[in-house]
Amino acid sequence: MFVTDIRKEFYEVVANQRVALLVASDIDALCACKILQSLFHCDQVQYTLVPVTGWQDLGTAFLEHKEQFRYFVLINCGANVDLLEMLQPDDDSVFFICDTHRPVDVVNVYNDSQIKLLIKQDDDLGVPSYDDIFRDEDDEEGGDSGNESDEGSEPSGKRRRFDEGAVERRIERQRAKREWEARRREILFDYEQYEYHGTSAAMMFFELAWVLTKDTKDMLWWAVIGLTDQWVHDKITHMKYVTDIATMQRHVSRHNHRNEDEENSLSIDCMRISFEYDLRLSLYQHWSLYESICNSSYTSCNFKLWTLNGQKKLQEFLADMGLPLKQVRQKFHSMDMSIKENLREVIEESSNKYGMKDIRIQTFGVHFGYKNRFLANDMVHACAALLESAEKDDGDNFINALDSLSRSNLDRLHSGIDLAKRKLIAVQQTVASCICTNLILSQGPFLYCYLMEGTPDVKLFSKPMALTLLCKYLLRAFVHSTRNKRCKLLPLIMAAPRDVEKGTVIVVGIPPESETSDKKNFFGRAFEKAAESTSSRTLHDHFDTSIIELKTEDRSKFLDALITLLS
């Protein structure tokens, strides 16, 4: 069931109890977790935090902790599957789920006792009504058994007369039931067909903090990072992003108007969050402007930087703005102040001429101390790079990424930024090589690309978030580079080797690229059906159903099944 008053029904319930937090491995979940942790520290609620990377992890963690905890809080996992069926908990376990995955499973919505959804009910959900899906079996059984008992007590003479009436009524009931069931299947199919994302979990918890009036600027910043994560990884539509930014902007202005004028200015060490209408160049303040333009998907795809022509256009673009190459290749901090002053406006003007109308995007930046300025998407890139670093195992990565979100762990954040730079360069090079060597094949209803084992940096792409990012950049680049009109509207499936010893590949499917895309992904169900029909050995372990693991040998038959399914 949906929680209407998050303070009474969630926070006050767990405030005196011990809680287990099961947190998924994505940035939004990490931010939500940090906010909730600070609230718990304030009120001294004892908790245990366990990171989970997939359904199996979730099951194991639950089994290990179910003896000791009664209340479980699941962040960014658990809403889109029948949780009670999967975990088989005892009757007194209560689950609080704050998840952005949609559609929310109908059993979770209509369970009144054990599942509490920390999701706003008007969050674009479209849940089918109760009567359409659930039907009390008692009504018809009661009717039948009532008749049967009547029949039993009646003498045999009258029985024959009642028999005919009863049989007719039963046939009628059965037909109605079949019709109802067919309609139910249809409704459920429509409801569960597309997978998409709802409001950020970090924003939900920030709202809880606000309602408790325990919100701080740190929590606000984490909420902003959670929202930006959804935008960077293309989980929500542009409209929703802009709406949510407006919500956050209200909170930011509320936090900023605190006696700040010439007499009472805040110390430079205090944290300031400001609204920025900033450039869509990833990490440009921590890199050189040139590198940033080359490695951000927006500019790279619009200029087509993998072609010679594209490189020339970039040089023209820089010349048009009057930026000397020497300046542009330097680290951003060391650029001349005269250039940095109007940089955004200058770039916006020039990029309009080159067809890039949206080079600026609404976002937030943070500023504390003399050296430390970060934009929200810098933080997202850094944190994501730490979370999926190939050098350490999952648990350490989770801890590193979680720590990098605190302001006192700046060295970790900087190492994250370095990793993110390497990741972006690797993505860009892979995209360039895939386009130039025509690795993207049209299979009919979708495009397909397979990363061979020897590809440089292929280890980076064995992780789901990195592979999804690569997939989106690749699709965008492909749409810009191909002349085939039909191919521009196709979705993309990408496969990359995941574990060489076990012989598995990771397969990701993303919806087609378009300006007004609603980001709804149907590959989850498609993958399930294709795997069933070919009995391929697949592992649907990830919380996003459009990401699966598959045995390398089963790849071709799986693909063929998908083609037949989707055409």
Binding site: R18, V45, Q46, Y47, T48, V50, E64, Q68, I399, S406
Partner: protein, 195 residues
């Protein structure tokens, strides 16, 4: 030269200046006591000779040996006392049960002293307040009652005061009462997370 062994004992303690307890140097002590005994006997005979025969030229050597005896005594006393001070500090750091390797370094008398010290500390603590106060915890005033800890290795189950059991698995984080965690933090199982 005389008293060299005694200086060696002192140096042994000085080498471990951070409060660690080296093994009880039984041999060294015995050698010093033997030296003291031989010095004393020599002195004894010389004193008798000097008294009876009136040989005044023996007096400087008697004085020398006497000084050596006093020095040896002082060194040995310092050695034993410093060890006792270190053992006392161990009670405050490790609690009432010492790890086996430390106990191995103590001689029988030191162990006895330790248990006596434990008893008197315990009876003192019991006399404070209504039902006693454990003053060996919280040497500095704590900033908060609960701290956030991160588990560095799998430690299995851990019970806290109200009976609830927590599973300490690698990379899980917990928010627990401070006094329960201090022991494990010292052992290196948990790590205090400061945000």
């Amino acid at each position: 030269m005389f008293c060299e062994k005694a200086i060696e004992l002192i140096r042994e303690l000085q080498r471990m200046s951070d409060g660690q307890l080296p093994a009880f140097n039984e041999d060294g002590l015995r050698q010093i006591l033997q030296e003291m005994e031989s010095l004393y006997e020599q002195n004894q005979s010389d004193v008798n000779e000097a008294k009876s025969d009136g040989r005044a030229e023996l007096i400087p050597s008697i004085k020398l040996r006497h000084c050596c005896l006093l020095r040896n005594q002082r060194c040995v006393a310092a050695y034993l006392y410093d060890r006792l001070l270190r053992i006392r500090a161990l009670r405050w750091e490790y609690g009432s049960v010492l790890p086996a390797n430390v106990r191995f370094h103590m001689c029988a008398e030191e162990l006895q002293w330790f248990s006596q010290y434990k008893k008197s500390l315990a009876s003192f603590m019991r006399s404070l307040g209504a039902d006693g106060l454990d003053i060996t915890q919280d040497m500095k005033p704590p900033k908060s009652l609960y701290i956030e800890v991160r588990c560095l290795k799998d430690h299995g189950e851990f019970e806290i005061d109200d009976g609830t059991v927590i599973l300490l698995k690698k990379n899980s984080q917990h928010f627990l009462p401070r006094w329960k965690c201090e022991q494990l933090i010292r052992q290196g199982v948990l790590e205090h997370v400061m945000s």
